[in-house]
Point group: C2
Chain length 491, copies 2
Amino acid sequence: MSKEITSREKDYSQWYNDLIIKAGLADYSAVRGCMVIKPYGFALWENMRDQLDKRFKETGHQNAYFPLFIPKSFLSKEAAHVEGFAKECAVVTHYRLMNDPEGNGIIVDPDAKLEEELIVRPTSETIIWNTYKTWIQSYRDLPLLINQWANVVRWEMRTRLFLRTTEFLWQEGHTAHATRQEAIDETIQMLNVYAEFAEEWMAMPVIKGVKSINERFAGAEDTYCIEAMMQDGKALQAGTSHFLGQNFAKAFDVKFSDKENKLDYVWATSWGVSTRLIGALVMAHSDDDGLVLPPKLAPIQVVIVPIYKGDDQKKLVDEKVKLLIEDFKALGVSVKYDDDDSRRPGWKFAEYEMKGVPVRIAIGARDIANNVAEVARRDTKTKEPVSLDGLANTVYTLLNDIQENIYNKAKTFRDAHITIANTWDKFVKLLDEKTGFISAHWDGTAETEEKIKELTKATIRCIPLNNIKEEGKCILTGRPSGERVLFARAY
Amino acid sequence: MSKEITSREKDYSQWYNDLIIKAGLADYSAVRGCMVIKPYGFALWENMRDQLDKRFKETGHQNAYFPLFIPKSFLSKEAAHVEGFAKECAVVTHYRLMNDPEGNGIIVDPDAKLEEELIVRPTSETIIWNTYKTWIQSYRDLPLLINQWANVVRWEMRTRLFLRTTEFLWQEGHTAHATRQEAIDETIQMLNVYAEFAEEWMAMPVIKGVKSINERFAGAEDTYCIEAMMQDGKALQAGTSHFLGQNFAKAFDVKFSDKENKLDYVWATSWGVSTRLIGALVMAHSDDDGLVLPPKLAPIQVVIVPIYKGDDQKKLVDEKVKLLIEDFKALGVSVKYDDDDSRRPGWKFAEYEMKGVPVRIAIGARDIANNVAEVARRDTKTKEPVSLDGLANTVYTLLNDIQENIYNKAKTFRDAHITIANTWDKFVKLLDEKTGFISAHWDGTAETEEKIKELTKATIRCIPLNNIKEEGKCILTGRPSGERVLFARAY
């Protein structure tokens, strides 16, 4: 099967598409820009979602659900917000179909036109803050710490499976606070939750930073982000956490009375990650033979393939595997025994390599006689005989090693792709030849950032948190700068 | 707080609305017919969803995700299906907003009109079967056992929180099989999964049956259902499982080659339950003081309220409660310690009564001196002192008793509300005065069913599975009938 994937070297972009399809993560749909998330891809998303959800709840958040539709007038209430989203909105204008009286099949009933059009949510700040208005009166109602798992729609012109689709799944946290500082603390807390999840679970190192004004969320005072590095040297924004100030509270007139009965607008945050993370996960670790999944998130952590001739050997292997599976289950390891007799072992090996299953165990009658099984790890593609005594424990340890190894490999690559540039020529050359993050001085203006983007397609990915202050000159204009920022071409 | 709820006797419908709002399950939204599911209501839904999801997976199903939008032409491909849904479809016609050049704010950009309108899914058979066409070629690809958790939209004219909302959350299973019998078996299997969930977890007895043609799902050959009885004597359809025959396979040309290489259309099922179940749960058990939740699904199973004066007493209670919470956690019981000092115990008692928390423990310094705590159960509203020795275990057993008691109470009520009618006069009188299910003969025609509905607002809820065959005469027309069916007025 692996022959069917284009190699990364030949065409990275095609490699990615091939991989998503061949590994069974997703499929194209009949609806422009929308994808079907297939069972294997969805199982991966469920694992990610469950871990994130656990962390959200541990930090005091509760889930809720708000309407899919947003009245058009709501979207307009926050000026920067509507400016940011108006150009990519799916709009519901009618609520009924009918048989065409002229016999041309089913048509939209012209009499069923909505008085006010409804927008399919591209994000839910407006509908949520309109609701918070009725939920928040006093400091007692604060903080309000709510998250929603939902589908959203942004009418993107160019789409890519997982990375940029018209409809996608995500979570969006929307919190309300009594003070500016508390809202900022929440923004940073959730950024840290995302960063820890990316590093510890996705095995994907990220840089925490703050966005420049140009890249800020529409309606935010500050957008914090985690930025990851893909194998082709392009950056990927993996999650954002916004400090919204009092912008939405003012737009929707949400005030609270404090302990001294003084009225003030509420402070807000919002933060989200989406199914885009699956695209990041794929591009961060996988190779020309298929997916490489971190064990902590892999839907199948271990696959066992029996090697046998005839029923007697099969029975012998089955008995051994049955015990082994019990050991794995006791350790909480997700294991699949693939004894489908319509496929040969070689086919299965390629299939699970494609699917990125971290550990494959092949076991036959002769192995059992020798008290061993062949254990192959997906990340390094090495295999070796391992004693059947305590095999599940050995593999359990191996899974942790693989998790660590994948992270270290990605981190080594990422660290090697942060390069300092002090001249424009070097900046351009690095972007074209070495790729990765370029650490360079910038004069702090939106105009310069825009100009650099025009000239090189590179954007400021972030101003890293805890950045070292350093005097320097802007890479483009030569004007004075107080710190370096990270530029990159990005997904 | 309980005074704020209308009593069931006074106005059952208003009681229901009051309860949903006051207990914090949901709220009205600014979008017509759409609701906001509040954190407490969503926690309840999460518990229901997790249990159902577990059962789906145990029966071999996998989750996936299909697009929100359905091209208009897809909906038209199955004649009965489009007939059933055309009148309640939200239609997306445009994909962009713009600033009105005449200065009237934000308008829909007339240049961004879609070539083909998109329907916001009212159910996903069509988009899914269009996808299955590319996934199914051979018997090896079958059965295909997929479920989706999603939001759907049906433009209902009259809406009720949870029971009938324009947008609702649900799961929809969509399976494909090689034989008619296998598909029928699947339909029945999932009906049983729903029935067991309703009875064992929701403590809500249900009748399993099959729908008459009039009440069948648009596009099904047979619709199986579970029907529950609410406290006002109205029936509620709590879940449906459809045998779709080859209707959708033919509409979307989905064929497979069997082991002999013969081509045939695929056999299908679909099945779903929705957030409507929350409405059913509320109406099945709750009373004039608030929700009564079955312990197995309650977001908070036990609440502990401290009774104290001064810091010393509080400290004493805190220490005891800390140990108690550890005991509860070890037993897997969800417990909340409400020591908010801005609310008095009486307020808290009313609040958790409203929220239907199954067990409330009040504990004070004097109780500790006597080695007891006051344990109150929500279902019977009785309370008694219980020894602190092994308190968590005592309460654990009590939770099981409550679960059983709630079920028995509902079953006694339901059983007392299945009445036989052999004459039209008795039929009408029972419907008006006693309410509940009326078991009566029917001549088997759609016309008679329609006529009965017109005259009485009662519909055939189902023909119970394993119904006793019995000769009789139709309650309306007097024509011969071979079995009784269950009529009721319904939600």
